[in-house]
Every structure is written in C-alpha cells, then in structure tokens.
Symmetry: C2
Subunit: 441 residues, 2 copies
C-alpha cells in the first residue's frame, strides 16, 4: 500500500526506510520509543507519522529529531482482491453513517464516512489477517435521522450480502439510534445465515481515545466466527480496552451519552465477549439463535404508533388526540414502577381500546418486569385494555409494535404477536447479575 496520505517530511522519512501502510515501524525520540502499525495519516501537519500501538490506540508522532525504523514488512495494507482469493466476501461491511471509520478532512473540518473497502483496510490493516472484507456505502445518515424506511433498506442490504455468500454482515451505524435499528433488523428476519453485527463509535476516529478500531476489529472477528444467526450490537464492554460485548439487538440500550461502554444489555446477558487482541469470541450463553440455511426477510413497519412516557400531572387527553386525530394504531406506554399510570387515564384507554388501538405497558424503570396484577391500578388498567409487555424495553416494544401493525389488522392477533417472543425480546428468567452494581465508598 502506497504512502499516499503522507506528504512532506513524514513522506520523506517513511519512503527512505521503505515503509508502507500496515507495516510495523518503530519511532525513537527523546528516549521515548513507539512501536506499532503504520497508519494512514490524518494530520494536517506534514511531519506527523501515525502509529497504532498494541493497546489499540493511534498515536501521532513528529519525525523531527526522531529515528524511524522499519521493523516488519507485512504487505497487509491493501485489500485482498486478487483472483483466486478464496476468502472473497467473507464479511460484508454496510455503512450507513455515523462516526465509525469516518475520515476527518482536516482542511474542511468535515467528517465524512470512509468505508470503501480500500479505506477500511487502510484504516485497520489487521483486518486482512482475520477475514476478507468487502463493503458498501448504503447511505450516509446521522443516526438521529434514521427512519423506519431506512431500517427496511438496511435489512434488504443485509439479506443481499448473505445471498451473495457472506459469512457475517457488519452494519456501521451512528450510536444515537443504533439500538432501535438493531431491534428493527431482529424483527425483520425470521432466521439468519450468520451474525449481523451493528457497530459504531462513541469517539470519532481522529481522537486518540477513539473506540473505532477496536470496535470494528472485534466486529470483523465476530461476524466471521460467531456461531449464531442473530442481530447483535458490538461495542466496548468496559471503560478499558480489554473486550467488546456482543449484546442481543433486542435487549440493548445506549445508557450513557459519551462513554465508550455506553451500550449495555438490560434484563439479559450479552451473547458474547470478544477479545480483540486474542481474536477470540467467548460465548456467555448457549441459547442463541443458530445460523439457518436461509435468511428469511420480512421487513415492514407501520409508524402510526406512539411512545407515551407517563409522568405526574400528564393530561390524559393526549390519548384521544393520538387515536382520533393522528390515527395512531398503537401506543406503548412507559409507565411507572410495575406498569402504572394515573387512574385518570382509564377512561381514555377504554375509549382507545374500543376503537381498536393496541395499548402496551412497559416500565420507565427499564430494569425488571412489569406486573399489573399486584396493585389495583394495574388490574384496572388491564381491564381498560392495557397489555403488560413483560420485561420488554419501551423502545424495543415500540419497534416491535411497528412491525406487528404492518403485518396484522386484527387487534387480538396484534396482542398475541406482541406477547410472542420473536427474537429474544422477552426474557422470562432474570438473573440477579443483570442489574448492575453501583459502588460508593
């Protein structure tokens, strides 16, 4: 791989020692020694050489007064597209936008997705040691702008990748709504030939603390070698860089605005830990959905739904507005505690039910399960037509309802499908270790 991204002094020094992107080099300067993989430059200064160290971080070092040595020639830095390459298309990377493997153009300050196969391999040369990747830029959408229509297009693209022989598919996605998309993909497939791995990054690639390289590398490991046919979100598992966690797509939530381990399973155990250094997938459970012969796609969503988060003082007339004026066909209520709203809502809920709207109850606690048989309010709400939705996350129940309503008109069948465990979104058995620990000293 040429040194095209380098210029000036850095290009001179690297050319002299015959180094190419992907080779291992060592830079020694003022008693500090940095050894690692030569990365493409993303600095606007022409004396900076970018090296990825063993810990997964990139560091930029000036070649001024430095001694630069070529340690190992690896010839990795180009896509293996040659004829007779039997690893062709093992892992497909579908790019939808977001900051993962985006390229910062320092001249303009703009971040643009950089997911041609060549750019990915430039960015992460080790990928070639793991799998043959191919890529597709499906679209370039900030994930807060993602819509149910986009979900369908992503699902179709995933289906195509498996049809073309991919072992696993990676969907690069912004983190804001990644969990919603993961649910949508999970409900869109009745059986998958391999893993569908959603991955994003919480810190963009130009920052030293970026989680992009580790998340992407471990996603390639997972997509190629995980034994399941499931949609997962694969992101940093803890604040250090030891492993990523592959969370079931319908049981995961972004729980922090900025931490790299923002994504966590709620009311469930993740499917696997991925140790990117050891290139190892450690399964945390055996009850995953196995790979199927065929990936069966059925992706349709009706977004005439609403997510209603209850709070004290809320005006119940919102229900009538939604059902009467906006033709909303179903409401997911994010109630309090075990699944409650004020009993002032009973009359509105009764009316909405009578008109055929589905009303499903989840909890704003997020952890735990709704139980509407313990207190009077829960029983009254059920009599008014509200259906307790077990331990489903509010967001997941909403996406599921969009899918169900696009497939069923009959309200009894809608209810029955909402309570059918389609993709592991309902977990009937909770373990104490699903609830995280807060420690204060």
């Amino acid at each position: 791989m040429p040194l095209e991204s380098y210029k000036g002094k850095a290009l001179d020094v690297l050319s002299q020692i015959g180094a190419e992107i992907g080779d291992i080099i060592e830079i020694e300067k003022e008693k500090v020694r940095v050894k690692g993989i030569l990365m493409p430059s993303y600095s606007k200064d022409d004396d900076i050489v970018v090296v990825k160290m063993d810990n997964g971080y990139n560091v930029g070092v000036s070649v001024e007064n430095a001694s630069v040595k070529l340690v190992e020639k690896r010839g990795l830095g180009k896509p293996l597209t040659g004829k007779g390459d039997n690893r062709k298309g093992e892992v497909k990377i579908i790019s939808t936008g977001g900051t993962i493997v985006s390229k910062v153009e320092y001249e303009t300050g703009a971040v643009r997705p950089a997911l041609t196969t060549e750019e990915i391999v430039q960015f992460l040369p080790e990928i070639n040691e793991i799998a043959k990747v191919s890529s597709e830029i499906l679209f370039s959408i900030l994930s807060e702008n993602m819509t149910p229509e986009n979900w369908v297009k992503i699902a179709e693209s995933v289906k195509k990748a498996f049809d073309e022989g991919s072992l696993g598919v990676i969907v690069a996605h912004g983190t804001d709504t990644m969990a919603y998309t993961a649910s949508a993909l999970a409900f869109s497939f009745k059986g998958l030939q391999g893993p569908v791995v959603l991955v994003g990054s919480q810190r963009s690639s130009d920052r030293p603390s970026s989680d992009s390289p580790i998340n992407l590398l471990s996603s390639v490991i997972l997509a190629k070698s995980a034994p399941f046919g499931e949609v997962v979100v694969n992101m940093h598992g803890e604040s250090s860089d030891t492993y990523t966690l592959a969370h079931r797509g319908v049981k995961v939530r972004k729980m922090h605005t900025s931490r790299r381990d923002a994504f966590q399973s709620i009311n469930d155990r993740p499917l696997a830990k991925v140790f990117w250094r050891e290139r190892e997938v450690k399964l945390l459970r055996s009850d995953f959905f196995p790979k199927r012969e065929e990936s069966v796609l059925d992706s349709k969503f009706d977004n005439r739904v609403f997510l209603l988060k209850y709070y004290p003082g809320m005006d119940p007339s919102i229900v009538e507005y939604l059902v009467e004026e906006k033709d909303v066909r179903g409401i997911i209520i994010e109630g309090t505690g075990l699944g409650h709203t004020s009993t002032q809502f009973l009359e509105e809920f009764r009316k909405a039910s009578r008109e055929g709207a589905f009303l499903g109850m989840t909890s704003q606690c997020l952890f735990g399960r709704v139980n509407m048989n313990v207190y009077t309010t829960g029983r009254l709400l059920q009599q008014a037509g509200v259906v307790p939705l077990e331990d489903m996350l509010p967001e997941v129940a909403l996406v599921k309802l969009m899918w169900v309503l696009a497939h069923e008109d009959d309200v009894d069948k809608v209810r029955s499908l909402m309570l059918t465990n389609m993709a592991g979104e309902i977990n009937y058995r909770h373990s104490v270790d699903f609830y995280p620990r807060w420690n204060y000293e």
Copy 2:
C-alpha cells in the same frame, strides 16, 4: 403495650410469660430457636407469633409445641407521649400512601396505611430508642395517582412540621413516583431546617422480605441526625440488608420495577449511607446543603408542560399540537445520545420557540451529559431554540420546568432559571464511579 393484635393460642402463651409488644422473646421449636422483638400480629391464624429478628426480617412462628420465653422486658412498645418528654416531635412522619408501613387486613385482603404514631411504634418498637416520632396521615394516595397539587400539600405539611420544631421530616410515599415528588419538594424549598427524607417500600410489610422496617428505621436515624437541609430519597442501597442510601432528591431514579435497591443516584454520588444496625449515618460527601435557620417554602407548579421522548419515525406535528392546541408552555425533550432528534423537528421547534414555548433537551441515555456542540444536529437544534440541560434527568427537568413556569413568564428568564443550579440537579463534575458496573462471567 398490650397484646391486642393477638388472639387465641398465641395470646394465651404470650400473656402467660408476661410479654408485651416490643419485648425480646425466644421461641424454641423442633431444634430451631428464634430470638427477636415481639411484633404485632398480622396473621389470621391465632397460633402465630411474629418476631423481628436481628437481620431486620419478621418471621411468623406457630406456638404449637413450642417453648416461648421472655428474654428482656423493654417497655418500648408505646409512643412516648408523656408530659415532660423533651424528645417530643423530634421526627415527624407524614404519610401520603404507598405500601410502607401499611397494614394488611387479612380478612379483606385490603392494604391500608397504618401510620398513626401508635401503629408506627407498634410496627417498629426500636424507633423509640432513636427518636420521638409523631405522625400525620396527610392522604392515602397510590403514588401513580400523585399530582402536582399533591406535591404542594406535602410541601406545606413539611413546612408546618419544621415550624413546629421537628428536627427532620419523613415523607412515606409510594415508590412509583417518589423521585418526581422528591424533585418537587427540592424545588419547593429555598433552604430547609433539616433533612426531608422520602421513604417507601418495594415489598409490602406483610412479606418476609419487606424492606419496610429497615427503610423506615434508617429514615428515622437520618431525619434525626443527618447534618443536611436537603430532600433525599432513602431506600435499600444493595440487595442485602446492610445499609440504605440517602440519594439527593433531584438526582435519583427508580431503576428497577421490583428490587429493593431499585432507587439509585444517576450522575451523582448519594449523600450518605445509613447503617441501621449500627444506627450510624456515614456521609459520602461534604458538599450538601446545610441546615438553615428557616425553611422557606415557595411551592407552585404549572403543569402545562410535556415530556417528549424521541424515537425514529416520530411525527413532528406533535409539537404543534402541544403548543397550539394544548397551550403547553414548555417541552422537555428526551433526545438520543448527546441530545438529538431528527432534523425533521427543526421547523416545528422553531415555530414553538417563536411562540414563546421553552424547549429543553435531556438524554434518554440517562447517564452522562447532553452536549449539543459536537454534531451538526445539536447545533441546528440549538439554533431552533432548544436549550441543552446539562446532566439533568428528564423527569427532574420536567418537574423543574413546572416550577419555573409557575414563577416566570418571560422566556429568557425561564431559560436562565432552567440553567440555574437550584437544588443540585445539575452536576458539573462527573466521576467514573457514577456509572454502575455490569459484570458478566
């Protein structure tokens, strides 16, 4: 204290040994020995004696074929209301409803609040060793039915208790909306003479695993001896019974539908751990609001607000409905990630701002802080009038907005007050240990 709640065989046996409620007794039966405080009966079977053991749990034991001994006469089981009792009114317990210290009437199955002073002391005789309590049944409302009007009444009752000389006030409250009420009380007082402790229970008093006794006992300890003048939620800190945590009222959230340690601080450290066995308050921080000479009450709420939780596919016209048709004066948006919605909302937000509605952004991640300067969408939303609300919880921001709108008409002043840290609801410095740990092996 008489044995009035006992009848039949149990009454006979207890009368014979001269035991009264609050005394320490020992029951030996089939090689099992149970020692503890004699509690009022709540069994419908007349052979059951109820004993509270050292671990805080109540156990019911049949006196059939048992040997029952009086170990220690304590004379605790009656309220210390005698003249010349200088501990009069040290701690006031205001009952608003919920399952804490409720009394199950086995004949009807109904749960009714049982918070006359006498019943509290019957239920928890050790209270007399800690403080002189008095009590008031303010109302009996399931917390899901609590309204802003109720918040004002509770605040007035708290004010009255301090005016009458209480050192601290306990508000017994259902857990569903306890965190909302805690915020409302925190914003209602500019200065407090002592701790206001909200307490509830996740398991009702008739269940052996009830958290009622420990939560109530530790709340009495806290209300009497904590050095702060703040509103806190005091509930089980972990699944075992070692301690409770006193969470700042504006930084706490019910995070589990059923666990006893459901309440946890978000983006903050709790104020204190309370070790009920040792009767000790261990402060976890020193930056609490100190006690004031006077409790200054200013409790008004305008509930022409809405909490809008964004999701992909949401129809932006809801904003117009809220502002135009429902005269909503402010919307708290629960956006994605660092504080985003789809850019489809920009036009609606611009219109709403022009009409004087306040728009505030929080994150559905809950943990972390919104930052609307990182990505283009955030900047555009700010230009459209959306105000980033730091690390405030969505629910807390909503209650705060109700309070602010009841005090200010001018939208610039509303904005400025929303960004003023009134009761510790904004935490400018986060520590890594605010984020809990998920551990999977």
